[in-house]
Each structure stands twice: as C-alpha cells, then as structure tokens.
Symmetry: C2
C-alpha cells in the first residue's frame, strides 16, 4: 500500500488511482466501474492501472484496505479524545457524521462492499472487526457507568451506522422527502437525528 502523503506533496500515480477507484466504486459500484473509464478520468491508460494493481480485484482490495485503515483511524482518535458522559458519546457519533460528510465515498464503499459480499467483503469486514470491538467496548463502558440505557452495544452501533448510511448516501431518497440535500440541510438533519439518538440512548437521570 502506498504510504500516506503529506498535505503539500502531489499524490503519486498509485495514490491517484486509489482515490479515483474509491470514488468510483462508492459512486457507480464495482461492476459499474470500468478500468478504462477510471484511467481516462486520470488521463492515463488502463494498463498503467494494471501495472500498479495486477487486477481489478486486487485494486478493490487495496481500496478497502486503505479505507478500513482510515475509518479505524478516525474512530480511534474520537474514542481517545472523547470526554465523559453523554458528551463523550455525542462526540464519537459526531465524529462519524463529520467523517461521512467529509468523505462520503467511505460510507458509499461500505454500502457497496455489503452488496458485493464474500470474499471481498469478508476481508473488509475482518479489517474493521477491531474497530467494531473497540467501539462496542466503549459503549459498554458507558452503559456500565450509567451514562446510557442498557442495549446490546453492537445493536446500537448498527442503529448509528444505518442512520449514517441512510442519511448520507440515499440522496435520491432525500429528494423524495422534499428537500434538496444541501450541505446546510444535511448539517441540520445531522443535529436532529443526533437528538433522536440522544433521547433513545440517554438514561433517565441525564
């Protein structure tokens, strides 16, 4: 995997390929992405892609590996920096929302992987398992501390996850709901859904 680049440096060719592939896999799907289209968007030839990634499947693996690492990074940071009580939970959920707004391709990729299924998805899911375990442990600790109602932590993660998925990837659905999904309305919606989760999760005494 190419090493993470600094803000000033221009991306290397394999990095540019990974960026474009992530966007395309998330947006048009794996099957809907052709190496030719990918290459032409980068003003290179398809064979250059196959030089760096010997097959489309390997390219997908590289994309998922890098994305899983980024997802893990963001949530790990949020978990470490979080305060205590509801504010702590809120901070973590908010960091997920922020990530989804900043890098919607990552959410789109998760959705796409769930559709592709094994073996590619199995690998992705294995990459993410430590993250899920970590987040579950966090939620469980908050329950033990009485900061939130008793729920199965992984069930809660699923609720949060599916909310994020629903909010940020189903653009057409948002439209039928009568709103142009602008950045502004997304932020407002985020806040409202956070309230929704809040009232569902909070303990009585909060």
């Amino acid at each position: 995997m190419p090493s993470r680049r600094g803000p000033g440096e221009e991306p290397t060719t394999p990095e540019r390929i990974l960026d474009a592939a992530l966007a395309s896999f998330a947006g048009r799907g794996y099957d809907g992405t052709s190496l030719d289209a990918l290459a032409s968007g980068l003003a290179i030839r398809k064979q250059t892609i196959l030089y760096w990634f010997p097959s489309k499947e390997v390219l997908l693996e590289a994309v998922t590996d890098r994305s899983a690492a980024e997802l893990s990074d963001v949530l790990e940071t949020a978990l470490v920096e979080a305060g205590s009580g509801w504010g702590r939970i809120e901070a973590v959920v908010r960091s997920v929302f922020r990530l989804a707004v900043r890098r919607p391709e990552l959410i789109g990729l998760v959705r796409e992987m769930s559709r592709i299924g094994p073996p590619a998805a199995t690998r992705f899911v294995a990459d993410l398992e430590p993250l899920v375990a970590r987040a579950s442990a966090f939620l469980e600790a908050e329950m033990d501390a009485g900061h939130m109602r008793r729920h199965q932590p992984r069930l809660l993660l699923l609720a949060i996850y599916s909310t994020v998925i629903g909010m940020l990837t189903e653009v057409e659905v948002l439209r039928v709901f009568g709103e142009e999904p602008t950045a502004r309305s997304l932020v407002r919606r985020r806040a409202e859904i956070l309230d929704l989760l809040r009232s569902a999760l909070l303990t009585e005494g909060d």
Copy 2:
C-alpha cells in the same frame, strides 16, 4: 405491466422474468445483472426477455413500477387498518418491517435505485411520492393528536427507512457485529429497534 396473479395460478413468463429481475437487481445490482444470467436462471433464452421487455432499461422500469406499486399497497393497507395512538404508529412501522423480512428484494431494490440515480431513480421516486406524502400526513396527524413528539415527519420517515435498510440489507455488517443474521435474530432485533424508535418518538405522557 402483467396483472397480479392469484395464489393458485402459475406465473406467466413476463411475471417470472420480473420476479427474477427484481431479485437479481436487488442482490447483484443492475450492472451486475446480465440478461444471459437472468435468462439461464429461468431456463429460457435471453431473447425471450428482450421479446417481453425491449431493453434492459425498460425491464428495470417495469421492475421498479411493480415494486413501487407493491410498496404503496402494503403501506396503504397498514395506514388504513391502523388503530390509534402509539399502537397505530407501531402497527405501521411493524408492517414495514414485516414487508422487509418477507420481501427483502424490495428493500434491496430501493437501495440499488438510490445508487443508480437519474433517470431511472427519478421515475421510481416519483412513483413513491404519493406514498411518502401519505405517510407524512399520517405522522403529522399523530403529532397533532399528541401521540408523538414533534419532528419533521419526513425526517422521521427517513430514520425509519434507514433503520430498515441498515437492518435488512447489510448482512455482512450484521456478521461483523458478531451475529449470524438468522430469521430469529432479525425478529428480535426488529423488536429492539422498534423499542429504540418508540422511546425516541413517544410523547412524555404515554
């Protein structure tokens, strides 16, 4: 569009095609579905499909039209039969869950349509708009009657929708959450998420 068939009659060829196409579009995606594979699954030739539906795109339209009609039917029935108060809301949400369990392809299709985007998705979304308006009106009436907290009704619909999507289509994600998604666990999860929504939506006096 072929007319709905009764329980005893065997399906006509175009109906069988629509059934298989719905399952495949929802499962493997539009791009991931080839007419050849579709046909071979039905033990017919691809040209028979093209005889009934002159192109793959028209087939998709036929599938979405029929699916939108079925979604509308189910929810309309639920809205009409619902009682009053929270029980009424619960009955409607439950009918959505039931539909999603019984016909997961419908949910998968919604997800796929949101990925495909215009123009196919626009048509689907237009077909569903009356349903969404109806459901919004229902929720708004419940708010007026004081049966639930004030929220934007379409926002609530989105929350319910995304929960259903997350629950019933992200099978791989369920797996990483440590559970084999059996019918039994899905039912239990449904109940728990219904509780989650309940506590989020209920008015204080309930």
